[in-house]
């Protein structure tokens, strides 16, 4: 890309956004388009393969991953609205395909993968204008966005551009929300204790919305908040940014 801003990108929706947070996916696509980027959404997207990979079923994970890599043949950035899935494709695909005949092809693909906020800030350097009402939000950093992808404040930088939004820091921001994919159903008690603490910390911020970049965390935190009939809402950062900045 040689420092110039790309004109065209691929968008990978991820299975959780596809099924549970399609508005977040649409919003991510709109944010990219508004930044002057053509967005290609290939047909045939299913899942990055992370659940099977994490559970040790690598052959099954590879079978699925291969079909997904094949959807993105051109040398274009691949943008994901999820830290965890982007981490899988960028960091763990090379492990998964180590020693496989198509390793080189997969590595080339992995090098093109970006998490959405990372791409918006680090590559596109987008500028946002806040059109929304004053609101207080808090930010839950997804473990994989931070530890696999090395996100370093990109989402906070985007939120910081919004003049009417106050960002209240979450105590223990870097502590896992307890999702962990199959962990949440294999060890429901520990996972439940983790998310209970997370929503208590989120509630203590006084914010009205918890933002995150990860479908898994959102589903987990949202489910726990709903079970407590909390007034606190969760929202994917893409949806939040798009709603507050789009012309009405």
């Amino acid at each position: 890309m040689n420092g110039t801003k790309p004109k065209k990108v691929y968008f990978y929706g991820t299975c959780l956004v596809d099924l549970f947070f399609p508005d977040a996916g649409m919003a991510g696509i709109q944010l990219l388009r508004r930044a002057g980027v053509e967005v290609v959404f290939p047909e045939g997207q299913t899942c990055c393969g992370q659940p099977a990979f994490n559970c040790g079923y690598w052959e099954e994970a590879r079978d699925v991953a291969r079909t997904q890599v094949a959807l993105f043949p051109e040398d274009l950035p691949v943008i994901l609205p999820s830290g965890s899935c982007a981490g899988m494709m960028k960091v763990h695909y090379p492990e998964l395909f180590h020693g496989q005949p198509d390793e080189a092809k997969v590595r080339a693909f992995s090098a093109r993968v970006y998490e959405l906020t990372q791409f918006l800030v680090d590559v596109l350097d987008v500028k946002l204008q806040d059109l929304g009402e004053p609101v207080k939000v808090t930010w839950h950093s997804s473990c994989h966005a931070v530890r696999d992808l090395g996100l370093k404040g990109e989402p906070q930088a985007l939120i910081g551009q919004l003049s009417n939004v106050e960002l209240a820091p979450l105590a223990r921001e870097y502590e896992c929300c307890g999702f962990g994919g199959t962990f949440s159903v294999r060890h429901p008690e520990v996972s439940g204790a983790m998310v209970a603490d997370k929503i208590a910390d989120a509630t203590a911020t006084g914010a009205s919305v918890v933002l995150s970049t990860d479908g898994g965390c959102l589903m987990n935190v949202n489910g726990a908040l709903e079970a407590k009939s909390s007034k606190l809402k969760v929202q994917h950062i893409a949806e939040f940014l798009w709603e507050r900045t789009r012309a009405r």
């Binding site: 947070f21 290939p42 299913t46 079923y57 962990g180 962990f183 949440s184 294999r186 209970a196 489910g223």
Partner: protein
């Protein structure tokens, strides 16, 4: 093929979660330790430099482990330290018993040693009529109650001051009830002081053993390590065979990162460099020093290039301090000598991945452990590797119990999962059904039931993103 007697971490963890006192004790202690460690590393670049150096030292030591161990034995011999090799815990226990019996020793005072916990040495010696008394304050506290350590460096961290006050008033002879920490410590000190003077032998662990000089390094805060190793006429040190480093220079960076990572201390109160028994004309020190080097599965771990990283561990405990699971359930729930993330990768490699399958999955793979590890052990990656080993026999590895965690139902589930997800047309049908009828799935269905213990049931959107993009009719390729 099922593993024999699988130990279920889930059950023990669920039980621990019901104890609010335990949870409060761990949360408070771990939050404190996290803050203290952070204060020791104000500059992340300095921290990374020290981690890189420490990782390199440990990796290099392991690379030439067999040679270093031979060199260590020769150097120790030169210093008058007798080296013994034990392949199993049973052998190590017998060796120690033999050394004690040869000197007619009936009482043993112990500095802190996790390897001796691994060997269940205390119980073994007691069955042979030898008293083994723990002299580390935390170890002393738990020994009074017949408990095992709940943390590798703070063994009694599951108890708070009030609990210890009650315990001392009941278990220590003539003790009065007090919640004053200094008074409590003085009480234990008084008991231990006499034990140090009376003991026939002392036992300690080893933090680092230096091959070139035959030096045994011992890091501690209470002085009990020095007392155990210098007052009694006989000193026996035990170590896992991975603890060796090449040169004395290797120790300084490892020591610097160990104390900072462990307790947030720039230096520990005591740092002992043991180079042999009392020399001629010297006024203190033991007459005999023995070093027992234990394998107990380590050479098998060593044989695997990826799993070998497990042996880089310097036992600082930072991984457990930062672990969201450990913080909530504490150390005993792991039903293992080594709890927390390092225990989660070490225990299954020692005991078998099948019997410990549930433990291997007791992690959200959040990565906090790998992030803070001073020697960069990729704990999450190793966990995933062990999950593969537990369910696949054909990995060509030396892992104990490989394939024995496999179940027909999980196998079937992942085949079905892949069968659908590698066929976009099938996935399209499945998501169509999920979006239309997902609501109808009962909250009591298997797995969903586990999810809804703490959360509402997730309901799919009415139309998936793919469906909406198809309807938009643009940007397809």
């Amino acid at each position: 093929m099922h593993a024999e007697k699988e130990i279920h971490f889930r059950d023990a963890a669920a039980k621990a979660l019901l104890d609010p006192q335990l949870r409060a004790n761990f949360r408070r202690a771990m939050d404190g330790l996290i803050a203290k460690r952070l204060a020791q590393f104000p500059d992340p670049r300095d921290l990374q430099d020290l981690r890189d150096l420490s990782t390199a030292i440990r990796s290099r030591s392991l690379l030439c482990l067999p040679e270093l161990l031979e060199q260590l034995e020769a150097s120790c011999a030169k210093n008058g330290i007798k080296v013994h090799w034990a392949e199993t815990c049973e052998q190590a226990n017998q060796l120690i018993l033999g050394i004690l019996q040869a000197k007619g020793a009936k009482t043993l005072v112990k500095g802190k040693s996790m390897v001796s916990e691994e060997m269940h040495l205390n119980a073994f010696l007691e069955s042979k009529g030898i008293e083994a008394l723990e002299s580390d304050l935390g170890e002393y506290i738990i020994q009074l109650d017949g408990e095992t350590p709940s943390h590798i460096i703070m063994p009694a961290i599951h108890k708070n001051k009030d609990q210890i006050a009650r315990q001392f008033s009941q278990k220590i002879k003539d003790a009065k009830y007090t919640e004053d920490v200094d008074e409590l410590t003085a009480m234990a000190r008084k008991v231990l002081r006499q034990k140090f003077l009376d003991a026939d032998a002392g036992l300690s662990g080893v933090n680092f053993a230096v091959a070139e000089t035959g030096t045994l390094c011992l890091v501690e805060n209470e002085g009990n390590g020095r007392m155990s190793t210098h007052v009694p006429p006989l000193h026996i040190a035990v170590m896992g065979l991975e603890k060796v480093v090449a040169r004395l220079e290797d120790v300084a960076p490892l020591y610097a990162i160990l104390t900072r990572s462990a307790t947030g201390q720039a230096v520990s109160t005591y740092f002992n460099l043991i180079t042999g028994p009392r020399g001629e004309g010297e006024k203190d020190g033991p007459q005999e020093v023995h070093l027992v080097i234990l394998d107990n599965g380590r050479s098998r771990i060593y044989a695997d290039p990826q799993l070998r990283a497990t042996l880089r561990c310097i036992r600082c405990g930072a991984c457990m301090n930062h672990c969201p699971v450990y913080t909530r359930v504490g150390g005993h729930a792991y039903e293992a000598v080594y709890p927390g993330p390092i225990g989660k990768i070490l225990t299954p490699q020692m005991e078998g991945v099948g019997v410990r399958h549930d433990l291997i999955h007791g992690s959200s793979l959040c990565g906090a452990c790998g992030e803070v590890c001073p020697v960069e052990i990729p704990i999450p990656e190793i966990l995933v590797r062990l999950r593969r080993e537990a369910t696949h026999e054909d990995m060509g590895s030396t892992v104990v119990g490989k394939g024995t965690g496999r179940t027909a139902s999980e196998d079937w589930a992942w085949r079905l999962w892949a069968g659908v997800l590698k066929r976009p047309a099938l996935y399209r049908v499945a998501t169509w059904f999920a979006t239309r009828f997902g609501k109808a799935l009962p909250a009591s269905a298997p797995l969903i039931r586990n999810w809804t213990q703490s959360r509402t049931k997730p309901v799919p959107a009415r139309r998936s993103l793919s469906e909406r993009m198809r309807a938009e009719g643009v940007s397809h390729e």
